[in-house]
C-alpha cells in the first residue's frame, strides 16, 4: 500500500520542496492558506489539496479533517506540520494582532491539528513531525516567531513521551533557508541571504532527520555547505 502523507504549508518554500520530493512515492494531502485554483499549477500532479488558513486554528483543523474524510483516508503514515509565518520587527513595536496571528498560525494550529490527526496517525503507527526553527531559543529580531517555535519544541518534548509506542513524534529545527518567508516577514537578510540553504537542501535534510528517528534535530546554518561537501568527499 502506498504511504499517505499530509504536509501543511506546502504551497511554497520548504513545504513545496518536500511535497515534490515525495510525490512519486506516496499519496499526498497538501495544505496552504490560498484556494486550490491559485496554487494548483505549482503543486505536484495528483496531490490532493485543501485550503486551511491556520490563523483560525480550529477551522484549519476542521478543514483538514474534512479533506481526509472526503479522500476516504482513515490512516496517515506521516504528518509534517510545516506551515509557518512571522514578522521581523523590533519587539517593542509589535502589535497585539501580529503576536496573536504568529502564535495561532505556528503553534495553536499545530496543537489543533495534532489532536485531530492522532487517530489517523495511530491507525498507521505513523509519525508526527513538527517544523520548528533554529530561532526557537529566542531571537531579538523575530521575538514572537521564535517564541512560537519554542512552543512547538515544548509540545514535541511532551508528546514524544506521551505518545511513545503509539505515534512517533519529532521536531526538526531548520536554519535559514532561501524561501519567500523572509520577504513575507518584512526581513531583508542582506548579502548573507545568498548563503542561505536552498529549500530543496533543507527539505532533504528534514527528510534525513525524519528517517533518523531522533528528536529534536537541529539543522544549523554552517552545516549545510559543510555537510554537502563532506558527503561528496566521503563518496569519492
Amino acid at each position: 500500500m502506498r504511504s499517505r502523507l499530509l504536509i501543511t504549508g506546502a504551497t511554497a518554500g520548504i513545504g513545496l520542496a518536500m511535497a515534490r520530493r515525495r510525490a512519486a512515492g506516496a499519496d499526498l494531502l497538501l495544505t496552504g492558506r490560498q484556494e486550490h485554483a491559485a496554487v494548483r499549477d505549482r503543486l505536484p500532479p495528483g496531490a490532493a489539496y485543501v485550503a486551511a488558513d491556520q490563523s483560525s486554528p480550529e477551522a484549519a483543523a476542521g478543514a483538514v479533517r474534512g479533506a481526509l474524510d472526503r479522500l476516504g483516508w482513515d490512516r496517515l503514515d506521516l504528518a509534517v506540520l510545516n506551515a509557518g509565518a512571522g514578522h521581523a520587527l523590533d519587539p517593542a513595536t509589535e502589535s497585539a494582532q501580529s503576536i496573536r496571528v504568529t502564535l495561532d498560525v505556528n503553534l495553536a494550529a499545530a496543537i489543533a491539528l495534532a489532536q485531530t490527526l492522532l487517530p489517523f496517525l495511530e491507525n498507521a503507527s505513523g509519525k508526527l513531525v513538527l517544523v520548528g526553527s533554529t530561532a526557537h531559543r529566542g531571537a531579538p529580531g523575530f521575538a514572537s516567531y521564535a517564541a512560537s517555535k519554542a512552543g512547538l519544541d515544548g509540545l514535541a518534548r511532551a508528546l514524544r513521551e506521551e505518545w511513545r509506542g503509539r505515534v512517533a513524534v519529532q521536531i526538526v529545527h531548520p536554519g535559514p533557508t532561501a524561501t519567500g518567508m523572509h520577504e513575507k516577514a518584512g526581513h531583508d537578510p542582506g548579502p548573507i541571504g545568498r548563503m542561505f540553504a536552498r529549500p530543496e537542501t533543507t527539505a532533504a535534510r528534514i527528510e534525513a532527520a525524519i528517517a533518523s528517528g531522533r528528536s529534536p534535530v537541529t539543522i544549523p546554518f554552517a552545516r549545510y555547505a559543510a555537510a554537502d561537501s563532506l558527503t561528496t568527499w566521503m563518496k569519492r
Binding site: 517593542a92 503576536i99 496573536r100 496543537i111 529566542g138 512552543g151 515544548g154 509540545l155
Partner: protein, 246 residues
C-alpha cells in the same frame, strides 16, 4: 509612590508577590479574573486574561494606571492529562492566558512607555525538561521563556530589563489540583520563598532565576540529559495521572 503591575495577584505565587511588593512600599495594580480582597495600596482590575476582547478592552485602563517601575506576568493556568483528552477550547484558552496575553501586555507597556525599569516573565522549570502530561502548558511556558530571552536586548535599549523566572513546584492550590494522586506537597516550595527570589532577581536585572537549590539542580540535569529527565518526568507524572484536569 513606586508602582508595580502584577497579573494574577490574588492567589498562589501572585498573592505572595503582591504581599512582598506591598511590604516593600509599592502600590500594586493586580489584574485577575475574579478580583481579590481589598487592601490599601492595591488596585484590582478584573479581566479574563484568556479572552482577547476582554484584554483589549481592559488594556487602556491598565496602561493609564501606570507608569510602572516593574511589571510581573504571573497569571497562568494549567491543564494536565493526556494531550488528546483536553478539549481544544481549553488548550486554546491556556495558550492565551499563559503565552499570548503576557506578550501582548509586554508590547503594549513598551509602546505606551508605561513600564520604566523591569519586566519579569514567569515560565516554568519544565522549560529545562519536558512535561509529558501537560503538553500545552509546557508549550505555553516555552513560548514565554523564548520570548523573554529574545526581547532582553531590544528592551534593554529602552532601559527596561527582562527577567525570566523558571520556578519549580510551588505549594499552591493550583499545584494541588494538577498533581498526580499521592504527590508530596511538602516538597513544593512555599510561595513566599519563590516570590522573594523572583522579585530580587527582577529588581537586580538578572536574566534568569530558578528559585531554590533542588530546582536549580533539576534544571541542570534537564539541560545536560534532556531525554532522560523527560522520561523521568513521564514516570513521575504522566504515568500516575488518573484523569484530565483543566
Amino acid at each position: 509612590m513606586k508602582r508595580a503591575l502584577l497579573t494574577g495577584g490574588s492567589n498562589g505565587l501572585g498573592r505572595a508577590l503582591a504581599d512582598l511588593l506591598l511590604q516593600r512600599g509599592y502600590q500594586v495594580v493586580s489584574v485577575d479574573r475574579s478580583g481579590g480582597a481589598a487592601q490599601p495600596a492595591m488596585l484590582h482590575v478584573t479581566c479574563d486574561l484568556a479572552d482577547r476582547h476582554a484584554v483589549d478592552r481592559t488594556l487602556p485602563a491598565i496602561l493609564a494606571a501606570g507608569p510602572y517601575e516593574l511589571a510581573i506576568f504571573n497569571a497562568g493556568a494549567s491543564a494536565t492529562g493526556r494531550f488528546e483528552d483536553i478539549p481544544l477550547d481549553a488548550c486554546l484558552r491556556l495558550l492565551a492566558v499563559n503565552a499570548e496575553t503576557p506578550l501582548v501586555f509586554a508590547t503594549a507597556l513598551m509602546q505606551a512607555g508605561a513600564v520604566e525599569r523591569h519586566l519579569c516573565f514567569i515560565s516554568s522549570l519544565s522549560h529545562f525538561t519536558g512535561y509529558p502530561g501537560a503538553a500545552v502548558y509546557a508549550a505555553s511556558k516555552d513560548v514565554v521563556a523564548a520570548y523573554a530571552k529574545g526581547v532582553r536586548k531590544p528592551f534593554a535599549a529602552h532601559g527596561v530589563s527582562v527577567t525570566l523566572a523558571c520556578p519549580g513546584p510551588i505549594r499552591t492550590a493550583q499545584a494541588e489540583r494538577h498533581a498526580p494522586p499521592g504527590a508530596d506537597a511538602a516538597r513544593r516550595m512555599p510561595p513566599e520563598q519563590a516570590a522573594r527570589a523572583i522579585l530580587d532577581a527582577t529588581l537586580g536585572h538578572r536574566r534568569l532565576v530558578i528559585p531554590g537549590a533542588g530546582p536549580k539542580l533539576f534544571a541542570l540535569a534537564g539541560w545536560l540529559f534532556p531525554a532522560f529527565v523527560t522520561r523521568q518526568m513521564k514516570r513521575l507524572i504522566f504515568d500516575r495521572l488518573d484523569e484530565a484536569v483543566w
